[in-house]
């Protein structure tokens, strides 16, 4: 009886010993990397920068203290190894929740760069990816006054736990990778621009052929966000008929969009939303509500169409029309078919706005 238990214990011990992959390392002996930034190196291919948080022992008076350790190298693995020789604690990537690439580096094919991030199991695949303009370094060196933890501003803006903006296109690492490898769905990344003591995220970059192709303006970014259904609240500017003067703004919510491809040369885009007038530059009245609604719908339709034409012209497809076409087709050469079709495809945009009121009591 006793011997049996000893045997079971030994087997358990063997199983346990073989299952432990990583060893015991105290939390205070780890350096938490919060942001990884990659720029083009001056001598070598990459310049890798790690933003490492310095935990403070005084919780109440905590200020965002960090160091940035950098290394130029031709491969990321090598750069990380060299950085390890510079810091006294074990690098811990488990909280590296944001990855910033420099503008120069995304101008070329990014897939070899991305390989390391995808393969490493300790890099979280839910890390947010962004482009630092002009460099990634200019973004991660910013010391924001309102941050309690280094890099927290990045996490809050991307994660929408803090600010909720229609201009921020948050992109996860896994989704970025999916869009790079998938046919008919092109990658998008937010662009971060430094502004003395803070950074601003209101533009997006669209990739084609695994490298940066076009940069979208603020308004275009907003519309792309709505088309991708990543926001459900937005404000829409309406101008006076045939002028450039602003007329009123609609605070829209419940935004719902859908795309459909019925015949091979026509793509249908439907956008539904509802809202009230938020700000009127010129006086508006309740009776003309139907007129305002029509005006807003038409103007918004124009904006969407011009963005879609822009994508068509540049042969990029961040909304995923190609993927939808491939999903509905049974042909083996559906991708080639779509590539031929896309430049000449017609867009049918339908906007449906439910304008509830002028936003004022009668």
């Amino acid at each position: 009886m006793g011997l049996r238990y000893v045997k079971i214990f030994l087997v358990m011990l063997l199983i346990l010993l073989s299952t432990t992959a990583c060893g015991y390392k105290d939390i205070d002996k780890r350096s938490f990397v919060l942001t990884i930034a990659v720029d083009k190196g001056q001598e070598k291919k990459y310049k890798v920068m790690l933003k490492i948080a310095i935990p403070s022992s005084d919780v109440r008076g905590q200020k965002p203290e960090f160091i940035i350790s950098e290394q130029e190298s031709d491969t990321i693995t090598d750069a990380i190894r060299m950085i390890k020789t510079k810091v006294d604690k074990e690098l811990d990537f488990s909280h590296a929740k944001s990855i910033i690439f420099g503008e120069e580096i995304v101008a070329k094919d990014v897939s070899p760069l991305l390989d390391w991030f995808i393969r490493r199991r300790d890099i979280q695949k839910i890390a947010w990816v962004g482009i630092g303009s002009p460099t990634a370094e200019s973004i991660i060196t910013i010391k924001r006054k309102i941050e309690r933890l280094p890099s927290n501003a990045l996490f809050m803006s991307f994660g929408q736990t803090g600010t909720e903006s229609v201009y921020i296109v948050s992109e996860f690492l896994f989704d970025f990778r999916k869009r790079i490898t998938e046919k008919g769905l092109d990658p998008i990344l937010p662009i971060l621009e430094p502004k003395s003591t803070f950074f601003q995220i209101n533009k997006a970059a669209v990739f084609g052929d695994k490298k940066l192709k076009i940069t979208l303006s603020e308004d275009e970014t907003k519309i792309l966000n709505m088309l991708l259904q990543r926001v459900n609240k937005a404000d829409i500017e309406v101008k006076k008929e045939d002028t450039e003067e602003p007329f009123f703004f609609v605070s829209a919510e419940g935004i719902n969009s859908g795309i459909e491809i019925h015949s091979s040369d026509k793509v249908e885009v439907k956008i539904k939303m509802q809202g009230v007038i938020e700000e009127a530059v010129v006086e508006v009245s309740e009776e003309n509500l139907k007129k305002y609604k029509k005006l807003a719908e038409e103007q918004f339709k124009e904006k969407v169409l011009s963005l879609l034409w822009k994508f068509q012209e540049e042969e990029v497809d961040p909304v995923g029309f190609g993927l939808l076409y491939r999903a509905k087709s049974f042909d083996k050469d559906d991708w080639e078919q779509w590539q031929k079709l896309y430049p000449n495809v017609k867009f049918d945009v339908q906007v449906e706005l439910q304008l509830h009121g002028t936003g004022l009591l009668k």
Binding site: L16, L17, D26
Partner: protein, 445 residues
Amino acid sequence: MLKSKKSKTIEWLQNKLGSSQDIVFREFQSGMRQAQILFIKTLCDEKKLQETFYKPFYETNEKEFDKYLNSLPNISEHKKNEETLTKMLLGSAVILLGSKVLILDVEKVENNSITEATVEKVIQGPLNALTEDVSTNIHLIRNRYPQATLRIEEAKLGKLTETKIAIVYDKNKAQSNIVQAVKDNLDRIETDVIMAAGQLHNKMTKQKRTLFPTMMITERPDRITYNLAEGKVVLLIDGTLFALIAPSVFYDFMSSMEDVYQSHWIGRFILSLRYIGLFISLLAPSLYVGITAYSTDLFRVQLALTIAGSRSTVPYPAFIEVLFMLLMMELLTEASVRLPQSIGSTATTVGGLILGTAAVEAGLVSNVMIIIVASVAIANFVIPINAMSFAMRVTKYILLALTIFFGLVGLMIGIIALVGYLAKLESYGQPYLKLFIDPSKRKGQ
């Protein structure tokens, strides 16, 4: 001839008892009648003796007195010397009357005052606990459970202590094989001294070294009544106010009588609170070590940095920190149990508040550690039955050891092994991890 045999008995008894100062031997006469009496003063109730024996002896004539004696329920005839001696030692008086040797049970019961329950408290429910006297306890139970089917059988345990044990059960509800198993179990016990319910529980289990209780220890008459109605067997032990209930499964140890007394959802809430407490007290130290030293990605980044910061002054690895603080906490708990109540509160203040803050300020432990140890201690007290709460206190260290060596994988395997072990245990045929014992279903079996 006859007389010499009688006096021989007395002589033999006197010889055995020696010359203690509380042994009383008297001869007295009334008219033509002669009587001798031998008893131990400290064990016998002299008032009872006065009323049942002396008074009638002087006030009636011989014939009537004989009839009277025969009608007494607490009188028996002498058979064997050894038996008589045992009875004397339990509070009987030996009377030599004419040609007869009679044994009169006039036991003095001292510790039968009913006190409030101290170990298993409820807020709104019966307040009193059992007493240390077994017949008073039976009285309490009979009062609460006035059923003709209630059976009370007596047994004696302990070669030296001769402790009275009452086996109480409802004949209609309890399974006869369980009752028989309990009786057999009691018969098998060979020991000198039995003083407490826990001790009896240990003797009754087949394995020599156990951790988890498989019989409920309780001081509440209402819990006993409730369990009798569920068809369980109750063992009352003379000399202690705790009783044993068999069979008892894991769920019973997590429930308090309060669950029955409160309204349904409140009862469920309190019960789930207890299970949460159980998991906190079992897992919190292991999770702390496992997450801070192996899988830091489980925390949010804010918390990870806070813990890393608060640990930066601590010179030792996390597991030494945890073990040190847990040891301190166990010492504190153990000390406050042993100390008199008036000093007990001082010990907790000194230990809990001063030691805790000083340890943090001295940089020996981190702030977060104090929170964990405190929550472990509080959560452990939530488990209503003391024996189970102690078992969980020990189990926690096994899980902690596994986590120290193998990280969260070790913790997981530890939990699986614990559940497996608990599932293997059984209490008189009832699987230990069975969640509810339903008496109505058992009838159909």
